[in-house]
Symmetry: C2
Subunit: 318 residues, 2 copies
């Protein structure tokens, strides 16, 4: 079993430093200018957990079908991922097909078969309900709220969403956003959510709805962290040969939350959040170097630490 990244945090107990993540589990068909994969392990919670599990134990809540391969289960377990919250239902796993255009900025969804994911009713094992960190991956806002309400404590909660929920469940989305600490959202979505093309205006409006922090994801242009007082702008790590961008946003969130979860959630500083942005960026940069989750499987703590250090010299002034 691979070791954790050493972030100079004191791990007082295993329970203290663990994350619960809820989201999709999928088998993807991916085609990019660099090649293709069939039945590749995918889904937001998979990408997130294989990223965050490099930092802390990660507890996965999701649903898969009876066609979900045993090898995938073994692989997740091997990578510090607790599967007590994984429900295996009679039927097929969520399947998604995608084809990327030449510059990787545009993609066509070839098909979306929800299968067992269509009636997903997330239920948290008792052992998950005191976790100090919770990530609500991109699922219906009502389900995100349902998970949040199952927690016994008040964890540090981050939420991701997508244009679909802004379109069809705006009120439910605003409701759950008002109860979380951190919102991950991409640049187009935050414009859509606030009916404005101006990202700064959109960020201000969104922060009024409750979250303490907002992370606007900008793909190859990096990300911006906003709170009510300030902002932190980070570029993407320069990857010369992007093989497959699928899951970059979830791996970013996994690195971000994974790094935070090595700290005491009561004492997080702005600089901790900035370093979490760095770790998120680095994890996303590794992810896109290979298809599906492949690069996250071979990644070592030393490689992560080395890239973090190298990235810091690329963005910081002494």
């Amino acid at each position: 079993m691979p070791g954790f990244v050493n972030s100079s945090a004191v791990r007082s107990s295993k329970t203290m430093h663990q994350i619960v993540v809820v989201g999709s589990i999928a088998l993807d068909s991916i085609e990019t200018p660099q090649g293709k994969r069939e039945n590749a392990l995918g889904g937001s919670s998979t990408y997130f957990s294989l990223s965050s599990s490099h930092y802390v134990k990660t507890c996965l809540v999701g649903v898969a079908g009876t066609d979900f391969p045993q090898s995938a289960l073994d692989l997740l377990k091997k990578h510090h991922i607790d599967l007590e919250g994984l429900d295996i239902k009679e039927g097929k796993t969520f399947r998604w097909g995608v084809r990327y255009k030449n510059n990787m900025n545009k993609r066509d969804t070839l098909y979306t078969e929800l299968n067992v994911f269509e009636n997903f009713q997330p239920s948290l094992p008792l052992s998950y309900r005191n976790s100090p960190f919770l990530f609500l991956g991109n699922i219906h806002p009502n389900l995100q709220l349902q998970v949040l309400n199952q927690m016994n404590n008040k964890p540090l909660v981050a939420l991701d969403t997508m244009n679909l929920w802004i379109d069809i469940s705006r009120d439910s989305l605003y409701n759950v956003i008002s109860k979380v600490d951190i919102l991950f959202i991409n640049e187009d979505e935050i414009r859509q959510l606030n009916h404005t093309s101006n990202v700064f205006e959109a960020a201000r409006k969104t922060l009024q709805h409750g979250p303490k922090l907002l992370i606007v994801k900008r793909g190859e242009n990096g990300a911006i962290l906003f709170n009510k007082e300030t902002l932190f702008i980070i570029p993407a790590y320069p990857v010369e040969n992007v093989v497959d961008p699928t899951g970059a946003g979830d791996s970013f969130a996994g690195g971000f939350m994974g790094y935070l979860a090595t700290k005491n959630p009561e004492n997080l500083t702005l600089n901790d959040y900035k370093m979490a942005m760095v770790h998120g960026t680095v994890m996303a940069s590794f992810l896109v170097e290979a298809f599906s989750i492949e690069r996250l499987l071979t990644l070592t703590p030393e490689e992560i630490t080395q890239r973090v250090d190298s990235f810091l010299t690329m963005i910081c002034v002494n």
Copy 2:
């Protein structure tokens, strides 16, 4: 006369810290979604000098027509700009008309009247020929070389160019590039110059042609500094209300070179270049807040220092 930005540099003499800039001087007609200006002061050397002159004395080499307003000459003089190298020729000043589309990323050139600029033959006054810093603004590469050859010493030389010269004078451009220290070029141009869509590959190839440093300008996505060993990525300063992006690249170069010129050119470190990127970014951010050169006229050293400090907290991790 406004004061200089204090960059904690020791100014041993006025001659020590001065820049020579050669480039266009124009009267622009500008239309953006925010309004319009007729006969506005423009041109690469104007934007550059009004930016660099916030740091050091700037010696301008250029040509204008007899229609060039006395008020513009007075304004340049008032801002530490030495006009001994400005040639006033019988005829009309270079005129350029531009209209920006809604998102400011696209623009239509309405007209280009070269006028006296067509036969520009730059000639450096003797008092300019020992300057330690030289900026070769975007003119024909043969003219850039002609200016370089007029220098008595070996100054630190930076060069800017454009797609036109890559198209029609590639060999001349490579020749002059091989003799300079720093090349400013935008993302599309460096791809065009190297026949590759990959900016990193293009950067490596370009550095093999001679320049020690390469600065790839990426508009609203900031800029990247490359040398043979490393790179430094800087985002644009977040300007909420861009009024007119004309001249942003030249103001960036002006802030970059202006900051460097407060230092000893023999002892420049990577961190000095990083700070120069910060100053360039900040000067470009002020410039785009108003039409033409207007914002550079009211700018104070305190405003520059304050924005530099605030920007550093937006991009750096402690």
